[in-house]
Symmetry: C3
């Protein structure tokens, strides 16, 4: 599906290697496209980059071209192509991959995810490459979005300028890539785990919010733990990361597994209480405006145009999820609450 | 009183709704203006914005005009007007409020507090508005100061540029506004409380220090807690926030209640030990310079021109408090120490 | 020795007062130059600034001129001169000190450390001063490096621009100076110790990494503690600081004592396991490239050109240490591992 100008939704950014050395090389891609309920990711990211072995890159691209559009997938598809600020060869490969995707499955690709972007010059190079391909195949700008992985010190240093480009480019999301980032910064695990880069997460939340972009957290790759011969999924450890990301205002989290997708979809979805409060505030504020009172103080909080906007955002987010994944909203909210969220007037008075 | 070019002092930034639905609609404003001892705020902020109901805005402005100057208030008065980067209507109202204040009670207004400022263009718009009004009423620039609330992602993103404008504008202080900020960034309480935005507080301390501005923390609104039917003032929780702000180098804290003002005034005031050490270092350094030694090492710390400046700042701060609130200095320091602070020569040798 | 274009190495940045009021006024300088094993600092910093009493500044410069080059010191020598953004007198003294060092012992000085640098204009002034002196004495740019202490709010505010100058100036390292920094920001110890400035450390790691500079932590000056009459070296407290710095990707730590140098040299040196893993990954990646496979996935991590670069950096770091301090590498790695690190081909395929 194509990105629309309604609420952007990416609670879960699930990467899937687009080709793996198995009988069905498209196993994980197919699994992502057919996932149901809370396992269905908001964004499925067929991975042509680090998740796919070099010897299988061509097959990965073929699998992506072959499979996109053949399933009734309600989320968005954002293939991760190859790129690097420091390698002309990788940029050339990335350009070819974009070209193939646009030429072959344009209508099923919502955007591309570009890794290892450097400073502002490299970001501009990414945008020119995208624009060139679009022009060649006569595709309008809003049909192919752009998400970048923030994983070089150069991109972090230029984060403000890059995010500011949102107004003039198809940039829709910035995704944190802690592995390469930590390696370049030289961060080390000297006994207290990997660095969390709290300052970088806070900056990501700030700059994306200032420019109406989505902010997505980085992958959590220690999915399982084995103790006394028993292997267990590490739900709590992942939950902690996703909750930290939600705490700091990130919109979604990276998922490497359907179990992680379930968690990310839940954490980044308003709680029934949050939805109920938002609906209540909107109604009371609207009533006060109709009365000519202008605004109201509710439970000690002054509700004005500025704060009401955030309550509208909560309802819009629930509607966007409801449009895409009605199974999820039906399971989370009771019928009456959901009907209320669908019916309420969100227009500014 | 009018801002002078001596030490800026704002340990406590106490907002008071300028009109409330009570028999005396100016109750809180009057209470702020007549507070004594440590309850007297350094800055009293008559709130024409979110603290006052929309239906009482006109009365709030009238109360402010009527009351400023009628009491023997030793602190500074900085009304918070209405403004918003995203609403022309609010900016129009804000301009009218500034105009009324300047026209009617110019000599009792030290400056205005402007909320919801956006990026650098909006900040410049605030400054032009102020300059227009000043020129209309022929008021010199240094008579009406400017404090802004840092509560949008755009202002945070432009913080460095905004703070840098201090040299060319009446900007005197930047105050953190975590409620709207958290809402815009999408930060959520998912079990571990509201985000603290440590990175933003650190940046606020840096940029204000680099440009000789005051930095003030955000409000703490859970003033009371009720357990087993007993309601208690949450002194410890507020102390933790104020101490964090002092730790990070902020100059003052936001107060919503006289009890909070007492705490903020105490925490942001040098301890007797700090004052004593400052006086001792200044004297020994001056003696060394007179001897021709040039500088001295005291307790392992080298005292040179640069470090001596900070000891002078401590003494200047105590003097500024002493000028404004002699009850506070008399209660905190013994007579001899205070006399020493008043008498010592602070001029650079 | 002169800075070369190989791996920059500064695990330990040891300052030594260049003159002290003892029978041998050059005692600490001499001790640094003759230290052996892990006590030998990577950078010895003869301190002409805050570590030396004003009355001994001339003797400090004489000691530095007299002693540099007279011992078989394998590390680099980076005298800290006087400077201040806010004092023309100190800048004049600093310029004279640079001139004397360049004129008298150019071949033994790897660079100068400049304290209290302000914003970008002051940084540029530092660079012009260095260039003037170099031109006067006809010394090529790469013979005299530049390290600055980040200890003013102005320098922090301009950190990105300053670090970006690395391409056009002899800037090699940025060193954190928390004492003056905390004083200027007004940070206070109100019960929870001194501020750590985590955001500043993270920014330092980012901007130095983006511009191929070294990042060095600040001094830890509470070296000893006395309890029940027994004085003990505070190894654990210092280890915590150095490990935090390594965690955040800083390259080295400030040392005030040979015991601290031993710790800094250890923490910032790859563990045998880290070295072994790096060698293994480089070999397997090279083999895969020879096979035409292009890259490999090892233990779930995709090894491509970008990630392999970091493993090469680990080996290069060990080689640099081995060149300078073979006693240290011999004591840390077994012979076979070290031979492997010396022999492996690090060229890009």
């Amino acid at each position: 599906m194509t990105t629309t100008d309604t609420t952007r939704l990416c609670r879960s950014f699930q990467t899937a290697p687009a080709a793996v050395p198995k009988a069905d090389t498209a196993k994980y891609l197919r699994s992502g496209l057919t996932a149901e309920g809370f396992e269905a990711p908001d964004w499925l990211v067929p991975d042509l980059e680090d998740g796919t072995a070099p010897s299988m890159k061509d097959e990965a691209l073929e699998n992506t071209v072959d499979l996109l559009g053949t399933h009734d997938f309600a989320g968005e598809c954002w293939p991760r192509i190859e790129w690097s600020d420091t390698s002309a060869e990788l940029r050339e490969r990335g350009r070819d991959q974009i070209e193939t995707l646009v030429r072959e499955v344009d209508e099923h690709v919502d955007g591309v995810v570009v890794p290892k972007v450097g400073g502002i010059e490299d970001f501009d190079r990414v945008c020119r490459t995208l624009a060139d391909v679009r022009e060649t195949y006569d595709v309008p700008q809003d049909e192919i979005g752009l998400a970048i992985i923030l994983e070089t010190a150069q991109a972090r240093s230029a984060l403000r300028e890059i995010a500011h480009r949102a107004a003039d480019t198809p940039l829709s999301a910035i995704v944190f890539g802690p592995v390469d980032y930590t390696a370049q910064l030289g961060g080390r695990d000297v006994g207290s785990g990997r660095p969390r880069w709290d300052g970088t997460l806070e900056a990501l939340s700030i700059e994306t919010s200032a420019n109406d972009l989505l902010a997505i957290g980085g992958p959590f790759d220690e999915l399982f733990t084995t103790r006394a011969g028993v292997t267990a999924y590490r739900a709590e450890a992942y939950a902690e990361q996703v909750e930290l990301e939600a705490h700091l205002g990130l919109d979604g989290s990276w998922s490497l597994h359907p179990k992680q997708t379930v968690q990310a979809n839940h954490v980044h979805m308003p709680l029934p209480d949050e939805l109920e409060r938002a609906l209540d505030r909107i109604e009371r504020a609207t009533a006060a405006l109709d009365d000519g009172t202008g605004a109201v103080s509710i439970d000690g909080q002054m509700i004005d145009e500025a704060t009401i906007k955030n309550f509208r955002n909560t309802v819009s987010l629930v509607r966007a999820i409801d449009d895409r994944a009605p199974q999820q909203t039906a399971s989370r909210y009771d019928e009456e609450l959901l009907a209320h969220a669908r019916d309420i007037d969100l227009a500014s008075p």
